[in-house]
């Protein structure tokens, strides 16, 4: 029953996209608020709570992630109301967009709640395929090319994940039979695994698939180009929901891998994320437009989250994760306004707002812009403190203290490059360039306010205690 | 021993019929009135009766070469795998010998093409050299891989072993070897994707170009050589890759063997009707695929044992 209510808003959206009146569209944001009810209910229920047998099981971790992505979903639905006023999009395409957004949301909800590797994969594939069309709603040739690109590379990444899942299943099947698909069974039996090598091969393939999907090392610019070519809500969905879903899978898989061989897992992820951050920080330094900038910074934060998680700082990872899930969609949604005078204008993007709405907008957008590089009141500041603390603990426990400390220092240097760039961009947005009038709609301000409230809620002691309880 | 000699005689007699059969099937599939299966014999007897003209420029090679084209092939006939269980066969001749004898025959054919100093002959010879140079490595790899599965390097012994113990556990590599060998069969006999034996189009012809100014009994010898070559390949394919039906009495086994030969000929005919001839410089690609499969067969056998 709870499951039904969870899936109701996206399914409603899917159904409404077939009704060709503009009034139904206005109702969608309201109905999407309804998703908060079952999520809140899930928080109150005893964990783990079986939503659908042992296939979909809600525990603290995925309820939290589900809450984050539901809030993002609501925000994006709000912002979608005014999509056609910022960019040129035909009515028919907009309906298609809603249709695939609904499917996307369903897929991701399944994937986040899954306790079953197969269902996790199916949901992810469904979400990936439906995004392809959402990219395509933009009628530019670039979007067309990138949609194919996304289809092909996304399919490869997803296939790698499935390949790894099959190998993991094969590693556990002699022990567990059909149950070898369930995350909790895998975790509970990790010390009795018959063939760890097979599991590790499978985990490595899965992890590489997940990393490619999030734009890590070999495919750094992949997501950035796609998000540039697509409309801005797509980018918000990517960074807010899709990457959350993918990351949730990574949390699950890496927990099992950590139970089997923590040292090797940590080294693998450390090397991978260092490579990623090394390239991404310089790409950010050269970024010339908001979309690519934010998208690359999304890759950076995902790398940090993965690193924090495997180095034992689960609290830091989850806090960072939550902050990123609110901040990044907010920023992506605000690019719709920020870029209304031209795509490649950093200078003056935060100037020229009038009226209450405008003032609230630029205040929030500026705040988010600074919060994303962890200026103190931001939750990211705390999460990075905790995360690096956990990494240093990990370094102390390992045999290669100096090398690890060197790696952490390198990481900090790379982060400071990003920090410098973001502050410079903020200053250029605020203090340079000509003043040009920009229109802000109430729905966007509402969406940003929701994200700001969510961000503030992350800092509450109650939330912190809850997050500490998850790890 | 009688069976052995009878088999060789049978193969010799079947050789022209098989080529006529391919032609007949192709004509049938193209809605033409098919030629008689005995057309090969008719051509042979007609050519024997004709006068043999030799170019003024030609040296003694032209008079000797046709015999030397045919004789290595006739020798190979003696080394083929047996067609019935318990029959006499030569067990010690391996892939190198058979490939070498085939290459010897091809060598004299090329020499014959060059000897008359015609421009077509030289062109045909160079093309033949080009193709056979690519065929040989794949051929050796394939037969080796099969011998490996059979557990004996001798081709005749391999055929016997395969019939005795079919390589069920090595089906994958066996299949790859079969694919490779079939491509080689087509390439080496100048069938359609590689060469079209029925036209005399100067752009494409290979085999025909070499024998353009041979006539009379010499031509009969060369034509016989071509048909014997096909029958050698077909019976190698039948012996190595279709090793069943051998434990019956000799007549029954021989009948089954003949059916297998006709099946191979039918497959070639159907393939010929369905494909277009490749451009000459695409032929290496086809042979490359054969090499890939032969190599794949070897590594699948070695690494995976499948």
């Amino acid at each position: 029953m709870t499951l039904f209510f969870l899936l109701l808003p996206p399914l409603l959206m899917f159904a409404a996209s077939f009704v060709k009146t503009s009034r139904t569209r206005k109702l969608l944001p309201l109905s999407s608020f309804a998703v908060l009810v079952p999520v809140a209910l899930l928080f109150r229920l005893p964990k783990p709570y079986a939503l659908w047998g042992e296939y979909l099981v809600a525990d603290d971790l995925n309820t939290y992630i589900l809450l984050l992505s539901s809030v993002v979903g609501i925000g994006v639905t709000l912002a979608l109301l005014t999509l056609d006023r910022h960019v040129k999009v035909s009515e028919k395409e907009l309906y298609r967009f809603y249709r695939f957004f609904g499917l996307f949301w369903v897929g991701l909800s399944l994937s986040i709640l899954a306790n079953h590797m197969g269902i996790f994969w199916i949901g992810l594939e469904m979400a990936t395929l439906s995004t392809v069309y959402m990219i395509k709603t933009n009628r530019s040739p670039a979007a067309h090319k990138e949609a194919w690109n996304y289809m092909i590379v996304g399919a490869i990444a997803i296939s790698l994940v499935l390949f790894g899942i099959i190998l993991i299943y094969a590693a556990y099947k002699p022990l567990l039979g059909e149950k070898a698909m369930l995350f909790d069974a895998l975790l509970a039996n990790s010390d009795r695994i018959p063939s760890p090598f097979l599991f590790e091969l499978g985990f490595a393939l899965t992890a590489v698939g997940i990393f490619v999907k999030m734009g890590f090392f070999p495919m750094n610019l992949w997501l950035a180009h796609i998000e540039r070519a697509a409309f801005y809500p797509v980018a918000a969905l990517f960074s807010g929901i899709l990457e959350s879903g993918v990351m949730a899978g990574f949390f699950r898989f890496s927990t099992i891998a950590a139970a089997i061989d923590h040292e090797r897992l940590f080294l693998f992820v450390l090397v991978y994320t260092l490579l990623t951050l090394f390239i991404v920080s310089f790409l950010i330094f050269r970024a010339k437009d908001f979309m690519r900038l934010f998208s690359l910074s999304g890759v950076e934060h995902m790398a940090l989250i993965a690193l924090f998680w495997v180095s034992g700082g689960t609290f830091a990872a989850l806090l960072h994760f939550g902050a990123h899930a609110f901040l990044k969609p907010a920023l992506f949604l605000s690019t719709g306004v920020l870029e209304s005078t031209g795509r490649y204008h950093f200078a003056g993007a935060l100037r020229g707002y009038h009226g209450t709405r405008g003032k609230v907008f630029w205040f929030l957008a500026g705040l988010f812009m600074l919060a994303i590089v962890s200026i103190p009141p931001s939750p990211m500041f705390f999460s990075e403190l905790y995360g690096f603390g956990a990494m240093i603990e990990q370094a102390k426990a390992s045999d290669h203290l100096l090398a690890m400390l060197g790696a952490i220092t390198l990481l900090l240097v790379l982060l400071s490059v990003i920090f410098y760039r973001f502050v410079a961009i903020y200053q250029s947005m605020k203090y340079e360039g000509a003043e040009e009038g920009k229109t802000v709609y109430i729905s966007e301000v509402l969406a940003l306010t929701i994200f700001a409230v969510g961000l503030a809620a992350l800092l509450l002691p109650g939330t912190m205690a809850f997050l500490k309880g998850i790890g | 021993m009688i069976g052995y000699l009878a088999t060789i005689l049978l193969l010799l007699l079947l050789a022209p019929i098989l080529l006529s059969f391919i032609k007949a099937v192709k004509m049938r599939l193209l809605y033409k009135r098919p030629v008689s299966l005995l057309q090969g014999y008719r051509d042979f007897s007609k050519l024997l009766r004709k006068e043999s003209l030799v170019s003024e420029e030609a040296s003694a090679v032209t008079r000797i070469a046709p015999f030397l084209v045919l004789s290595p092939l006739l020798l190979v006939l003696f080394y083929l795998p047996p067609i019935a269980k318990g029959a006499f066969y030569v067990s010690f001749v391996d892939a190198f010998t058979i490939t070498g004898l085939l290459a010897l025959s091809t060598f004299f054919l090329m020499l014959l093409g060059l000897d008359s100093a015609g421009s077509f002959g030289g062109m045909g010879s160079s093309r033949e050299a080009f193709i056979s140079a690519l065929v040989e490595p794949a051929m050796i790899l394939t037969i080796f891989s099969v011998s490996m599965m059979a557990g004996d390097l001798g081709v005749g012994q391999a055929g016997v072993n395969l019939a005795h113990h079919f390589p069920k556990e090595h089906m994958a590599s066996y299949l790859f070897a079969a694919i490779s060998f079939f491509i080689l069969l087509i390439a080496e006999n100048g069938r359609i994707p590689v060469d079209n034996p029925e036209t005399h189009l100067e752009l494409t012809m290979i085999h025909e170009a070499m024998i353009l100014d041979i006539s009379g009994p010499y031509l009969a010898l060369i034509e016989t050589a071509a048909s014997v070559k096909f029958v050698i390949f077909a019976s190698l394919f039948a012996g190595l890759f279709l090793p069943f039906g051998m434990d019956h009495a000799w007549p029954v086994a021989a009948a089954i063997f003949v059916v297998k030969l006709f099946a191979v000929a039918l497959a070639v005919a159907i393939l010929e009707v369905n494909t277009a001839k490749l451009r000459l410089f695409k032929v290496p690609n086809l042979l490359g695929i054969a090499i890939v499969f032969a190599f794949l067969s070897l590594i699948t056998y070695y690494v995976l044992g499948a």
Binding site: G118, S159, A171 | I289, L304, A306
Partner: protein, 197 residues
Amino acid sequence: MVDFLIGLFLATLITALFTTRLYRLLFWYSLNSLTLGLLALTVGSRIGDTAMLVSGGITIALKALAIPYILKTLSQKFRLSRQTPPTIKTQYSIILVPAILVFTFYLAEPVTHMVQGNANYVAISISSLFLSLLLMIEHRNIAPKIVGFLSMENALFLLGTTATGGMPMLVELGIFFDLLMAIVVVNLLLYREEVES
């Protein structure tokens, strides 16, 4: 029998790599899926697994018949180029393909002791995964890329069938559902392509 089918599977995939015409490519893909379906049927009837029999049947119906047919219709409807020359020259592929095979065969060697049943299948499915990747890389046109994606799906199915003795039914059905959705998305993407040009 299983060895034979698995050999045929790899052979059709390799032949598809060297194909330069779209319809031939679809034909080889269909043959590839057919051997896969027959493989699932054989393995399923040997170990008495109904789920695998069902998924083998669906594979034959969907991947060997429906999808090639749909792709052919789509390519006619949107006038896709029927000549799909690979960008990697054949002479390089001839070196590349055996290299990939040797590499993957040795890569999978340590795994072979850990999988129940015949472990060679893991090696073959990993190598067919790589070969499908090569199929996607070596073409610039969109249709062969889709075929490459589909044959990658086949490689995964092969692994699922042979290495684990059958995935749970739910997962198999989900994968088929996603495959259908992929075809729908491909159709929509192609549709837009025509409208624009």
